[in-house]
């Protein structure tokens, strides 16, 4: 329990630190957000008014604490460019990014796990080499490039998926999932490699453990051994990687959402940057950070549950 509290506390410190850090970075970026909002035709009086509205006239530390106090009560402020509460904007975009992340995990995790295990069992076979080559390729290929290729060949030429855009859940579960399928596959290609690698090496090292000798002596079947001992022993690595993958997917949807025109958190972040919508930018960054911290905490707990040896450590 003490351990849990400690980790929660650490997570909180990380979030706080990141919020201060982003605030600083935004503060130091050159360029006047008010000028961006008003363009080349603004009068000095209008600029002054907008600066005041945006709270840009206060000293840095005052701006930060005002924001922090509000944020702690769940109010992330109002977006200047949308004229809407940041929390509402995030909650509108969240389902898309969330669904996209879950969908790509559903693709990459089973795939990575199966290929990784087979690779380990048939180490140095043709399958293993092929898997490792493909893994390297998947890791090295930029997602946006793959996305564009997929849009042209798979969505346009073959017509298997809509080219771009998101179909909301209200228009049917299948249509909605279908509209996210191609970007989810593209995102999994980038992630499946690390799952394969860690699964392969975890299973390999489990197979070399001493207790494996016993299973051979007890004449257990290979499958039974695998499921009874190896996976349980080897699970720690893959679970950690899946946690990291989830976090990476969640925070790394910007380009994919731009290309596939999906209204998710990544697009919102992109918009906040180009429009210099600082309050929105700050809100989205903090939200993503918090999500990543939460995912990591959950991963830790999961690892502990699966592998009791870690609990006392």
């Amino acid at each position: 329990m003490q351990n849990v509290m400690k980790r929660l506390f650490n997570g909180l410190v990380v979030v706080l630190f990141i919020s201060l850090f982003t605030f600083l970075v935004i503060y130091w970026i050159p360029g006047d957000p008010a000028a961006i909002a008003l363009g080349t035709e603004a009068s000095p009086a209008q600029l002054a008014l907008v600066r005041e509205e945006m709270g840009l006239n206060d000293p840095f530390i005052v701006q930060y604490f005002n924001w922090l106090v509000q944020a702690l009560t769940g109010n992330l402020g109002n977006s200047f460019s949308f004229g809407e509460e940041v929390t509402i904007l995030i909650s509108q975009r969240l389902p898309v990014t969330f669904a996209l992340t879950i969908l790509s995990l559903l693709i990459s995790v089973p795939l990575g796990f199966v290929i990784g295990t087979l690779s380990a069992l048939y180490k140095d076979s043709w399958f293993d080499s092929l898997a490792r080559t493909l893994m390297q390729l998947g890791n090295a290929t930029p997602g946006f490039w793959l996305g564009l290729i997929a849009i042209y060949f798979i969505a346009y030429q073959l017509g298997w998926f809509p080219i771009a855009g998101f179909v909301p859940l209200s228009e049917g579960l299948w249509a909605s999932v279908h509209s996210l399928m191609l970007p989810a596959v593209i995102m999994s290609i980038g992630q499946v490699g690390s799952i394969i690698r860690i699964t392969r090496s975890s299973v390999l090292s489990a197979l070399q453990e001493e207790f494996m000798l016993n299973t051979q002596m007890n004449a257990l079947t290979k499958t039974k051994t695998l499921f009874k001992y190896v996976f349980r022993y080897a699970a720690t690595g893959p679970i950690t990687v899946i946690g990291n993958t989830a976090a990476a997917l969640f925070g790394g949807t910007i380009l994919i959402e731009e290309i596939f025109a999906l209204p998710g958190i990544g697009r919102l972040l992109m918009h906040s940057v180009t429009q210099r919508d600082l309050i929105l930018l700050q809100g989205v960054v903090i939200f993503i950070t918090t999500m990543v911290v939460v995912i990591n905490l959950l991963t830790d707990f999961l690892v502990d549950t699966v592998n009791p040896a870690r609990r006392s450590a």
């Binding site: 000028a35 080349t40 603004a42 004229g83 073959l158 771009a164 049917g172 025109a261 209204p263």
Partner: protein, 518 residues
Amino acid sequence: MKKFMLSTFTLTVGLVLAACGDSEENTGNAESTETNTASETAASEANQELNWALGVDPDGLDPHMTTAASTFQVSNNIYDTLVKVTPEGEYVPGLAENWDVSEDGQTITFYLEEDVLFHDGSDFNADDVVYSFERLQSDSSARSADYASLTEYEALDDYTVEFYTEALDVNLLGKFAYPWAAIVPEDADDELTNSPIGTGPYVLENWVPQQELSLTRYEDYWGEPAHIQTVNFQSMPDTTSQITSMLAGELDVIGITGDLVDQFEGQEGFKITEEPANSLQLMAFNTDHEALADERVRQAITMAVDKDALINTVWYGYGDKIGSHYPPILRGYVDHSESLSYDPDAALELLEEAGYPNGEGIELDMYLPSAYPAYVSAGQVIADYLTDLGITVSIHNVEWAVWLSDIYTARNYDLTVTGHTGRLDPYTLLARYHTDSPENYMNYSNEQVDELLENVQVEQDEAARDEIYAEIQNILAEEVPGFYIQSPIGLRVTKDKLEGLETYPIDIIELKDVHFVE
């Protein structure tokens, strides 16, 4: 043969997918891969639909609170203005049936259209006009400065409004034609950003920012109703996705750049239209710089660059070469496109005359706004020519926010490439060359130009005004406070069955007249 097999395969797969999916979405997809048969059948139906890709989302739909072109392209179809403008730049009645301008040009009386209903069912009358202009002048409005000169206005009766300007404004009528001078119902306020209410030919049906915005035809529209029932604007930031969707028949209109013309040229079912724009692009000189203060140096730089090659390289030839601060489609244009034309030898001679033999001793800092890749490329090409002249150029790419504050406002630069958009009235475009203009980021000063700019504001005779504008163009073409490059040509790809999409001298889209033909 291969193609046949591929399309058979596509069709089969499409049908299978459609069969297992049982949703309409899938059926639509399978059909759209089969070229654009879908749109042809749609054309014969009464419930027509237009699909349009938006690269940039509207910055809210409140016409008084933003300066974003992306807003006005949409909002112009939801709201009406008192006066409208034709593609040729003439003023025609809008919500005002007709109008009188007083002898001294300072009072204008509008007689309003009766029996006009707002989208919420309320009656349109003179109070709504007064309210809209009060709102446009309020502190929170983005255009308050432009309308400060309308000092008094009142409703004389339910359908008559009188405006009075303190100073004579020879282009008064234009003020009532811009899409930001839209008429909103009395008492409507902040809610207009997301739920606009106007009198226009289209009603906002649904808007999910960064996803989709759809308009439906307003059946109680006071004028000739729109042809097309539903217009879907799809938010799609990536160009490749836009093009692919267009090719697949999911979109009816997209804007493209010159390099993408090949993708559509010769393709059946599409047409490409060229649209001259009321804007221009230039490399500005900071005339406070010691060398650039000398007009001979500026002329030398102008003659050192092959403008045709520059336009071909950067804009794939889609631009009208200019030689002064004036786009060809604006009334009163004087053709200076061949003045100070490419002549590197003459350029060197001029430099020597100015005391810089072989460009020695001229070091220039060029700032390029990285948000505009074309300006960055143009700057790099120009810098190359200047290096041939012996001038040292250091290029700095800056973010848009930095450009606005450090270059445009604080004027800390020697050279910069940018663009300017014209208005209905040439005055706004040229006013920045007045010595005292806050927008005179070139620090240009010429007494004669100052005087001409002051005179033109009180000259009521249109022909005489055009003469003054011509004179200013001549001076700018001679003294070149900027290296005037081109007036860009916009490119639009549409289905070839789409008609009625006009280009206006202000940045608006008029959806009302758009229709499909058989």
